[in-house]
C-alpha cells in the first residue's frame, strides 16, 4: 500500500504551495536524497552519521516520505546512543525505502507536468 510510504495529503499541500514548481521541488528532493544517501553510506563516525540522518529526516518529513523519515529517525537515535551494531542494517533499509519511493515521486512529477520531458535542475 503506497500510503504507508507517502503521505498524499502532504503532497497535495506541496503542490498547492509550489504551483508550477512542484515537479522542480520533487526533483530537487530526489537529487538531495541521493547526496544524503552517499554521505550515510560512507560516514566515518557517529557524529557524521547522526547529522546526515537528522537532515535527511527533516527533508523526508517535509516531502511526506513518512517511512523514510521514520527510518532516518531510528538511525539518528542509534548514532546518538553510539549503538552502531544496527547501523548497517538501517542504512540498507533506508536505501531500500528510497528505491521504493523514488519511482513514486517520479510518477508524481510526470503526473503534475506531463509536458515537461526533462525536469530542469533547481
Amino acid at each position: 500500500m503506497a500510503d504507508t510510504h507517502l503521505d498524499r495529503d502532504v503532497l497535495s499541500a506541496l503542490q498547492e504551495v509550489m504551483g508550477d514548481e512542484y515537479s522542480t521541488l520533487l526533483d530537487t528532493f530526489l537529487d538531495d536524497a541521493e547526496e544524503r544517501l552517499r554521505i550515510l553510506r560512507k560516514a566515518e563516525d557517529a557524529a557524521q552519521l547522526m547529522n546526515a540522518a537528522h537532515s535527511f529526516k527533516g527533508s523526508s518529513s517535509n516531502m511526506g516520505a513518512i517511512r523514510l523519515a521514520e527510518l532516518c529517525h531510528e538511525l539518528e537515535q542509534c548514532a546518538k546512543n553510539k549503538n552502531l551494531s544496527g547501523v548497517e542494517k538501517l542504512v540498507g533499509e533506508i536505501d531500500g525505502e528510497f528505491a521504493l519511493v523514488r519511482p513514486l515521486y517520479e510518477a508524481e512529477c510526470r503526473r503534475s507536468s506531463p509536458t515537461k520531458a526533462i525536469v530542469p535542475r533547481f
Partner: protein, 568 residues
C-alpha cells in the same frame, strides 16, 4: 484595527535544497521578500549585506552551523531586534535550549506547517516593531533629557550672573547649596546697601524644575536693584511681594527669609515668611534665638494686605545668623520619618567648631537618610566689626559731563508720608549725581540715614534711645516705634540740601529738622564715644563720618557738611 501587514525581507538559511525551496515558496506566498543561504557563513554574509528583518535558520548546517550564525547575526544587529526562528526537527530539550542560548527567539518544527509559520512570522514582526518603538522612544527621551539639561545649563549660567552679582563671597558669609539648587526653587542672595549694611535673602519657591526657577530672576532683580539704591527691608519686601503676586500663577509663591545686618548699629533686622526657623546664635550666652516665620510667603497676599513688619534684634561682633531651607528638616529616612527640628538642635548642641557646623548637619542628614539630598540650602552670616567690612565701590556709567554743582533743595515730609515712605534712596540718588560725592557715598548714606532716623524716632515719635541699652529694651524700642508710627497724626521732618562749588571741589551742607521736643545737646556731646553702641543718637558716628556737625534749636536741627577736592 490591524495595521496592514508590512512586507518583510526574510533570510532563509537551510542546507537542504528541497527544504530551502519549499520554505522560500511558502514565505513568498505570504507576501515577503526572500533571501537564501545554504550554510551559516553565507547567512552571516547575507545579513551583513542586506540586513533582512527576520531570519529562518536551520540548526545543522555545514561550514558554519545555525548556532554560531545566530550569535554572529545577533551581534551584528546590535540593539535592533532581528528575530531568529530556528528550523529544526530537534526534539531533545537540551538541543532546543541551545537554540535559545544562541539567540534564537522561536522554533519551527519539520515538517513545515504554513499556518503556524505565518502566525510565528506575524508574532515575531510584532515583537520586532515593539522593540523598534521602544528604542525610538528611548532615544527620544534621551534627546529630550539632553535638551533639558542643556536648557538648565544655559538658564543656570544666566542666573548665576544675576545671583552672584552680590556679595555671597564676603568673608562673613558661609553657605552651602547644591549646584542646581535653582531648579529646586532655592535662592540665596546677598548684597551691601550704600550705607554698608548687608542684605541677605534665602528663598524657596514652590515646586521643582523650571517653573520653580522662573520667579527667581525678577526676585533677584528687585533685591539687588533696591538694595543698591538704599531701600530698606520693608520697601524691598513690598515690591517683591507685589511683583511675584502679579507674575506668578496662584499656586506658586516664594517662602523667604530676608535679613539686614547692620555692622554699625550691631543689629539684625529679620522678616520670615514661611521658611523654617532661622537661628540667631549669641556667642556670649551660647543661646540660639529662633527666627520664626511670622508672615505668609511672598506672592500670596495682595499689596494692600501684605505685612512688611520686621523684627530687629541686637547682635554682637562674632554672633551668627543661621538660615536653612526645608530640605534640611524635611529630609525623610527609609520609614518616612522627618529629620525634624529636634535632631537639628541636637547637632547645634553637639557643635564645638562653628566652622564645622554645615559639615556636621550634612553628615547628620546622611546618617539619618542613608544618602545625600540635593535640595539642601544653608547660610550663616556673622557680624563683623564695622571697620572690617568693605562694600565694593559703586560703578557709575555716566560720563560726568553734566554734573550739577550749584543748587539747593528743601523737602518737608509730613505725618502721612513718614508712615509709609522712605525718602532716603531718592535723596541719595540725587546727591550721587554730584560726582565729587561719589567717593564718600557710604559715609554720606550712613550719615543721612542716622540723621533721618534720629529725626523720626527721637524727634517725631519721641522714642527714648536709652531703652536700647539691653536686649529686651531693644525689642521694646522697636515695638514702640512700630506702634507710634501707626498712630502718627502730626509732625514733620525737613531736609535741606545745599551744594556749592569751592575752588576745584565743592561742599554739601545737609540740614535735618524735626517737629519733636529736641534734646540736651551739651550732655550728649560730653558722653564718650564708645565703639559698641546700642543707644544714643548716633552722634558719635555722625561726627566721625562728616565735617562740622552741629545741633541747634535745642537739638531739633542738625547740620553737617561734606567736602570734596578736585577730581582727578
Amino acid at each position: 484595527m490591524q495595521p496592514p501587514l508590512e512586507s518583510l525581507t526574510i533570510l532563509i538559511a537551510e542546507d537542504s535544497a528541497a527544504d530551502r525551496m519549499l520554505l522560500s515558496s511558502i514565505v513568498r506566498r505570504q507576501g515577503h521578500e526572500v533571501l537564501t543561504a545554504a550554510n551559516g557563513a553565507e547567512a552571516v554574509e547575507a545579513f551583513r549585506q542586506q540586513r533582512p528583518q527576520l531570519v529562518l535558520m536551520d540548526a545543522m548546517m555545514p561550514v558554519m552551523d545555525g548556532f554560531e550564525a545566530a550569535q554572529q547575526i545577533k551581534a551584528l544587529a546590535g540593539e535592533t531586534l532581528v528575530p531568529i526562528i530556528f528550523l529544526t526537527s530537534l526534539t531533545e530539550s537540551e538541543a532546543l535550549a541551545r537554540c535559545l542560548e544562541a539567540g534564537g527567539d522561536d522554533f519551527l518544527a519539520k515538517p513545515y506547517n504554513q499556518v503556524i509559520l505565518a502566525a510565528k512570522i506575524k508574532a515575531m514582526d510584532r515583537l520586532r516593531r515593539l522593540q523598534a518603538t521602544v528604542l525610538q522612544q528611548r532615544d527620544q527621551i534621551a534627546r529630550h533629557h539632553h535638551y533639558l539639561l542643556n536648557e538648565q545649563r544655559v538658564a543656570k549660567a544666566v542666573f548665576d550672573k544675576v545671583a552672584h552679582s552680590g556679595c555671597l563671597s564676603a568673608p562673613n558669609i558661609r553657605y552651602l547649596q547644591s549646584p542646581y539648587a535653582l531648579f529646586n526653587g532655592d535662592l540665596l542672595l546677598a548684597a551691601f546697601t550704600p550705607a554698608g549694611d548687608m542684605h541677605v535673602l534665602l528663598g524657596d519657591f514652590t515646586g521643582h524644575g523650571l517653573p520653580a526657577a522662573v520667579g527667581a530672576m525678577p526676585l533677584a532683580e528687585v533685591f539687588y536693584g533696591m538694595t543698591a539704591k538704599g531701600y530698606g527691608l520693608s520697601e524691598i519686601l513690598r515690591e517683591m511681594n507685589a511683583k511675584l503676586k502679579r507674575i506668578l500663577p496662584v499656586d506658586m509663591f516664594c517662602c523667604a527669609t530676608l535679613l539686614c545686618l547692620s555692622f554699625q548699629r550691631s543689629s539684625v533686622e529679620v522678616w520670615n515668611g514661611g521658611m523654617p526657623d532661622g537661628y540667631l546664635h549669641s556667642v556670649a550666652s551660647g543661646e540660639r534665638t529662633p527666627l520664626k516665620a511670622q508672615h505668609l510667603p511672598l506672592g500670596v497676599l495682595s499689596p494692600q494686605t501684605f505685612d512688611d513688619r520686621t523684627d530687629v534684634l541686637p547682635m554682637a561682633v562674632g554672633d551668627r545668623v543661621f538660615l536653612l531651607s526645608d530640605g534640611v528638616i524635611d529630609t525623610c529616612d527609609a520609614n518616612e520619618q522627618l529629620f525634624g527640628v529636634e535632631r537639628l538642635q541636637r547637632v547645634f548642641a553637639a557643635n564645638r567648631q562653628p566652622d564645622a557646623l554645615f559639615a556636621e548637619i550634612e553628615q547628620a542628614l546622611r546618617d539619618f537618610r542613608g544618602e545625600a539630598r540635593d535640595d539642601v540650602s544653608m547660610v550663616e552670616v556673622s557680624l563683623l566689626e564695622a571697620t572690617q567690612v568693605s562694600p565694593p565701590a559703586l560703578v557709575y556709567s555716566d560720563s560726568g559731563q553734566c554734573c550739577p554743582l550749584d543748587w539747593s533743595v528743601s523737602f518737608e515730609f509730613r505725618a502721612a508720608t513718614l508712615k509709609r515712605f522712605n525718602p532716603l534712596p531718592y535723596l541719595l540718588q540725587l546727591l550721587l549725581e554730584v560726582h565729587g560725592l561719589r567717593a564718600q557715598s557710604g559715609a554720606l548714606y550712613t550719615v543721612l540715614a542716622e540723621l533721618y532716623s534720629n529725626a523720626l524716632e527721637h524727634g517725631v515719635l519721641g522714642l527714648d534711645s536709652s531703652l536700647k541699652r539691653d536686649a529686651s529694651g531693644f525689642t521694646r524700642y522697636y515695638q514702640q516705634r512700630s506702634t507710634r508710627l501707626d498712630e502718627l497724626q502730626d509732625g514733620f521732618i525737613r531736609v535741606n540740601l545745599q551744594v556749592t562749588p569751592k575752588g576745584e571741589g565743592g561742599c554739601l551742607t545737609v540740614r535735618v529738622e524735626d517737629s519733636g521736643k529736641g534734646f540736651d545737646v551739651e550732655r550728649v556731646m560730653q558722653r564718650p564715644a564708645d565703639g559698641v553702641r546700642l543707644s544714643g543718637r548716633g552722634v558719635g558716628l555722625i561726627r566721625q563720618l562728616s565735617r562740622n556737625a552741629s545741633w541747634s534749636d535745642d537739638g531739633r536741627s542738625a547740620r553737617v557738611e561734606f567736602f570734596w577736592e578736585a577730581l582727578a
